[in-house]
Structure formats: structure tokens, C-alpha cells
């Protein structure tokens, strides 16, 4: 049974590209365009892992991450932060917010797959 991922990404092209590549890599991929939808899908569908863009409209990635990690029902779901911010401080900020890992855009896809697999197969 393939793992279910939730991809949260507001940029249409990046969402389209990344979701297709993840499906090609064998993952069942759910999609959310903003923070509100992401929170709804996480609680409703309990994906195995969340790929979370941090710069989101309405509710940003940091808030999404904090809410997930403070909700005991879903706190165990691993989150990988995706951002175009490449500074070390951004990485620390994401990890401090509760993200389990961090990937910088442009995404190194094979490295991202390694990170996903490391987090979903205990």
C-alpha cells in the first residue's frame, strides 16, 4: 500500500509539477492550495506526511505547522517544510515551528524522496 502525502503549495505550476512527480514516484498525493484547506485535509484525511510550503495565503505555513503539532490527534504526522527562503535562519525557524525536515526550492527531488522515505518508514 502506497503512502499518502499531502502537498500544500499555492503556486500553481509548482503544485502541478511536484504532485505529478510524487505520483510518478509512487505516492498517493493529496493537494491543498492554502493553509486553511491544508488544516482541514490534515484532520479529515490524516495523510502519512505533509509537504508544506511556508509562504501560504490566508494561513501561513508556520501557523499550520504549529497548529498541527499542538493538536494531539495529528501531531504525529511528519511535516517537511518547503520554502524558497534559503537562509540558515529560515531553516531554524521552520524546525523551531515543529517541522520534521526542511527542503529549499528549487527542490532536489531525489533528496526530497529520501527525506520522505526516512520519515514515513520507521
Amino acid at each position: 500500500m502506497s503512502a499518502r502525502l499531502l502537498l500544500v503549495e499555492d503556486n500553481e505550476l509548482n503544485r502541478d509539477m511536484l504532485s505529478r512527480r510524487l505520483r510518478r514516484a509512487g505516492f498517493e498525493t493529496l493537494i491543498a492550495e492554502d493553509g486553511e484547506k491544508a488544516l482541514a485535509r490534515i484532520t479529515e484525511e490524516r495523510p502519512d506526511l505533509v509537504l508544506l510550503d511556508m509562504n501560504l495565503p490566508l494561513v501561513d505555513g508556520w501557523t499550520v505547522c504549529q497548529r498541527v503539532k499542538s493538536d494531539s490527534a495529528v501531531a504525529d504526522i511528519p511535516i517537511i517544510a518547503l520554502t524558497a527562503h534559503a537562509m540558515a535562519a529560515d531553516r531554524d525557524k521552520a524546525l523551531a515551528a515543529g517541522c520534521d525536515d526542511y527542503a529549499t526550492k528549487p527542490i532536489d527531488f531525489p533528496a526530497l524522496l529520501d527525506k520522505i522515505n526516512a520519515l514515513i518508514s520507521p
Binding site: 509548482n14 509539477m17 512527480r21 527562503h85
Partner: protein, 508 residues
């Protein structure tokens, strides 16, 4: 009063007191010696008077004896005896004359009287001796009146001389007492003045130096606002205190300026860092799509499955679109960088803004009519020719029109242009009935990497550089740009450009 003036004045006063003392001493010496001379003279004159009195008395005795002898014995006087008697009278005259040599103004009257009566007496005595051996000699010499008168006169002179001697002695005493008193007073005054001067000088100098010391300490401890107050001295120490205060002011200003400079440098640095971080972010977003789609297409070609040519083409278009976005972004960043470093130059030419506007609107018409928007345009044929940078004018219009299209759904986009009657400037307005902005958003909308809302860029895309470039271009071209907007109702951007710039840049 200044320290130097106080010192000078005090020293001068001491010198004057000293001079008075010395002058008093010399005057006292002079007065004493003068009185002493007069005193000695008076004493000598007294001695001489006594001698004269004695001579007169001896001779009278002698004459009385001779007179008695002549009456009773009829003896004659020898020539030798007579000559010696006359010689005695001459000596007495000499004594009288010597006494005359010692006469002063105050004894002149007494002496004159003495001289008159003495001369008469001596004359009668001479006559006595000359007629002594005459047969017809009569003892007329018994008359005692002339002698008593002369004795009386001599006594008066002696009394007068004694009185003067006592007077002189008194004067000497008084002079000595006076000079002593003046000397002692001057000495005491000098000591008192010196002590007072020293005391005040020390206290005054101490006070001022203490205040300076306190100020220096406070300043040294970092209290830059400390100033020496109550400077009640217009001399050197006051100057020093004022100089200290001026130095403190300058120090305070210099440190403030330094702080400000550092702060603005820090702010500029922080702004640069933010700008770089934003640029990095903006470049990575399209790059992510380009690399991601390329890798994906590559993978698809490697698969054994048949390629969906339609999908493949669409994906390639997305790569191209992202590439163009990236290029536009890089161009914008380069433009801003050029403007910021002052290297952006204007390519001045005469052109018709109406034509540029028409072409731009036509080119962007598909974008402007997207999302159910209506496009309305003025007739631009009546606009005047202007002398400016046509390429930048076009770029401003493209940015404003793209913006209007981006933020408007099922609304109206309107482009108006006219020549301002009062100033002759060209005014172009781009209005939309889009989402609009609050006043705070309007205030920042022309800043770099600022979009009305942090979430705006996610909903509507765009780098946040377009309006900053529009503002910089307008200012570079001698014009201005402004915005009027109401949230939910739309925005209106107005560009104002001169028909010919007042000051044409050097490279034009």
C-alpha cells in the same frame, strides 16, 4: 571679574601701599633731619646768648668798679688796660654778630631789638673808656637803664629761642609718631590684603577647579548631558568652563551623529539583506518550476510508456513561461540596481505618447480583457509630442496595466490621458475596479518588495518591484506618480510627466 584682573588689581594695591610706606619713611627722615637742624641751631643760639649775657655782665662789673675808682682816687687808666677793655667790647660785638648769624625768621624781631639796645650800650661803654682819662670826666655811666634794657632784650631772645627749641623737639616727636603709625598701618593693610587675596584666590580657584573636575568625571562616566552651570566668571576659569561645555556639546553631537550614522548604516544594511533575501526567494520560485518540469519531462522520456505529446507541449510552455518570468524579474532587479547606484540613464527622444499608449494597450489587450474585465480607452490622438525616454514611458505603462489586470476580476480597466491645461504636463491615468488598497497600503505601495498585503504575492504573483520601478522612472524622467484607492472599489494610478524636462540630465 577675571582672575588676571583680580590679581593685577591686588598686586597693584599692595605696591601702592608699599610705595606709601617708603614715601612716608623718606618724608619722615627728611622732616626729622630738618627739625633736628633747627633744634641744634636753637640750642647753639641759646649757648651763644648765654655767653653774650655773661660778657655783658663782666664788662658792666668792670665799668662799675672803674667808675667807682675814678670818682674816689682820680687814678688814670693805662693805655694797655684801656686797649684791652675796648678789645673786650669788640669781642662782645663779635659775639652779637655771631648770634645774628643764627637768627631765623621767628627770632628776627627779638634779635633786632637786642641789637639796637646792645649797640647803644656798647657805644656808651666805648665812650666811657675813651673819656675815662679826660679831666672833665663825669661819672655819667651809673645810669643802669641801657644795661637793664639790653639784659631784658637778651632774656626775651633767649626765651624765644628756648620756645622754638621745644617746638622743634615737639615737631620731631610728632613726625616720628606719625611715620610710625603710617608704617604700621600700611604694613597691617598689606598683610591683610595679601591674606584676603590669597584666601579668595585659593577658594575661588578651588571652587572652579572642583566644578571642572566634577564635570570631567561625570563626562568620563558617560554622562554626556552634564554641563557646568552658574559660570559667574568672565575670566580664564570661566573661559575654561565654557570651553568645557562647548567640548561637551560637540562630543554629544559627534556621538549622536555617529549613532545616527551607524543606525542608518545598519538600516541600510538590513534593507540590503532583506532585498537580497527577497531576490533569492523570487528567483527560486520560477527556477523551481523550470528545474522541476525539466527533470520530470526527462524522466517521462526515459520511461517506456508512450509520451502524451499534448501534455508534453503544455509542460514545455510552462518552462518557457517560468523562464520569461525569471528574465523579467532579473531585468527589474537590474533596473532597480541601476537606479539605486545612479547609473540609470535616459534615452531622450521626441515621441508621441499617444502612439506608445495605443501600442501598449493593444499589446496587452488579451491580458487586460482576461478574467471577464472590460477595457476602456481614451482617444490618444490629440496628445502633444513630448521629449523624454519613450522606452521607460512604455515600461511604466506596461507595469501599471499589468497591475490593474492582476488585481481586477469581472471589472473595468480604464486608461485616460490628457494634457494639463495649467502646467502643460502630460497626465496618464490607469484605473481599475479591483480590490483596492487601504491608506496604509497606498503609503507603501511604491516601496521595493512591498505588496499591499503579504498574502497578495501568493494570490496574484509578481515580484513587488514593478511599482517601485515605476516611481523611480517617473522621478528620473522629471515627473511623478501617485495613487488614489478605496479598498474593494479599485485603484487609480496617475503619472505626470513634463512635455520637456526642466533640467535635462547631462547624458541626454
Amino acid at each position: 571679574m577675571s582672575l588676571r584682573r583680580r590679581l593685577t588689581l591686588s598686586l597693584f594695591t599692595i605696591l601702592v601701599l608699599f610705595a606709601i610706606n617708603v614715601g612716608t619713611h623718606f618724608w619722615g627722615s627728611y622732616a626729622r633731619s630738618e627739625s633736628m637742624v633747627a633744634y641744634r641751631q636753637a640750642v647753639s643760639a641759646g649757648q651763644l646768648s648765654g655767653e653774650l649775657g655773661k660778657q655783658l655782665e663782666d664788662q658792666r662789673q668792670k665799668i662799675l668798679v672803674l667808675s667807682t675808682l675814678r670818682e674816689n682816687t682820680d687814678d688814670r687808666l693805662g693805655d694797655g688796660d684801656r686797649a684791652s677793655a675796648l678789645e673786650g667790647i669788640r669781642a662782645t660785638r663779635g659775639t652779637l654778630e655771631a648770634l645774628g648769624g643764627m637768627v631765623s625768621d621767628v627770632t628776627a624781631l627779638q634779635y633786632q631789638r637786642l641789637q639796637e639796645s646792645s649797640n647803644r650800650l656798647l657805644q656808651s661803654w666805648e665812650g666811657f673808656y675813651e673819656r675815662y682819662n679826660d679831666d672833665a670826666w663825669q661819672g655819667d655811666i651809673d645810669d643802669p637803664i641801657p644795661y637793664l634794657e639790653t639784659s631784658q632784650r637778651l632774656k626775651e631772645l633767649e626765651q624765644r629761642q628756648a620756645f622754638i627749641a621745644v617746638q622743634r623737639a615737639n615737631i620731631i616727636d610728632r613726625t616720628i609718631a606719625l611715620t610710625d603709625r603710617i608704617t604700621v598701618l600700611g604694613f597691617i593693610a598689606s598683610i591683610f590684603l595679601t591674606a584676603t587675596l590669597g584666601f579668595f584666590l585659593v577658594r575661588y580657584t578651588n571652587d572652579n577647579l572642583k566644578r571642572l573636575k566634577r564635570g570631567t568625571q561625570r563626562l568620563g562616566e558617560g554622562d554626556l548631558d552634564f554641563r557646568i552651570s552658574d559660570i559667574n566668571d568672565d575670566g580664564e576659569l570661566g573661559d575654561l568652563a565654557n570651553a568645557f561645555n562647548r567640548m561637551s556639546d560637540k562630543l554629544r553631537r559627534a556621538i549622536d551623529e555617529e549613532k545616527e550614522a551607524k543606525q542608518s548604516a545598519d538600516e541600510a544594511n538590513a534593507a540590503k539583506s532583506r532585498f537580497l533575501a527577497n531576490v533569492s526567494h523570487e528567483l527560486r520560485t520560477p527556477l523551481n518550476a523550470i528545474i522541476g518540469y525539466s527533470e520530470m519531462l526527462h524522466d517521462e522520456l526515459d520511461d517506456d510508456e508512450p509520451v502524451d505529446r499534448g501534455q508534453f507541449q503544455t509542460d514545455l510552455d510552462k518552462i518557457v513561461l517560468s523562464g520569461r518570468q525569471l528574465l523579467a524579474l532579473i531585468d527589474d532587479i537590474l533596473d532597480l540596481s541601476k537606479i539605486e547606484t545612479g547609473k540609470m540613464q535616459l534615452a531622450m527622444e521626441h515621441f508621441k505618447p499617444g502612439e506608445v499608449l495605443t501600442m501598449t494597450v493593444d499589446a496587452l489587450a488579451p491580458v487586460l480583457r482576461r478574467n471577464g474585465n472590460t477595457l476602456r480607452c481614451d482617444d490618444f490622438s490629440g496628445l502633444p509630442e513630448i521629449y523624454n525616454d519613450a522606452v521607460k514611458f512604455r515600461q511604466i505603462m506596461v507595469n501599471l496595466l499589468s497591475n490593474a489586470a492582476k488585481f481586477t476580476d469581472n471589472g473595468l480597466i480604464e486608461v485616460k490621458a490628457q494634457q494639463d491645461e495649467a502646467s502643460g504636463d502630460l497626465i496618464v491615468e490607469v484605473s481599475d475596479s479591483g480590490i483596492g488598497m487601504t491608506e496604509d497600503q497606498q503609503a507603501q505601495v511604491f516601496e521595493v518588495f512591498v505588496q499591499a498585503d503579504d498574502s497578495t504575492s501568493h494570490l496574484y504573483g509578481g515580484s513587488g518591484l514593478g511599482l517601485a520601478i515605476c516611481r523611480d522612472f517617473c522621478e528620473l524622467m522629471g515627473g511623478s506618480i501617485s495613487v488614489a484607492s478605496t479598498p474593494g472599489e479599485g485603484s487609480r494610478f496617475s503619472v505626470r510627466l513634463p512635455v520637456a524636462p526642466a533640467s535635462v540630465p547631462a547624458d541626454a
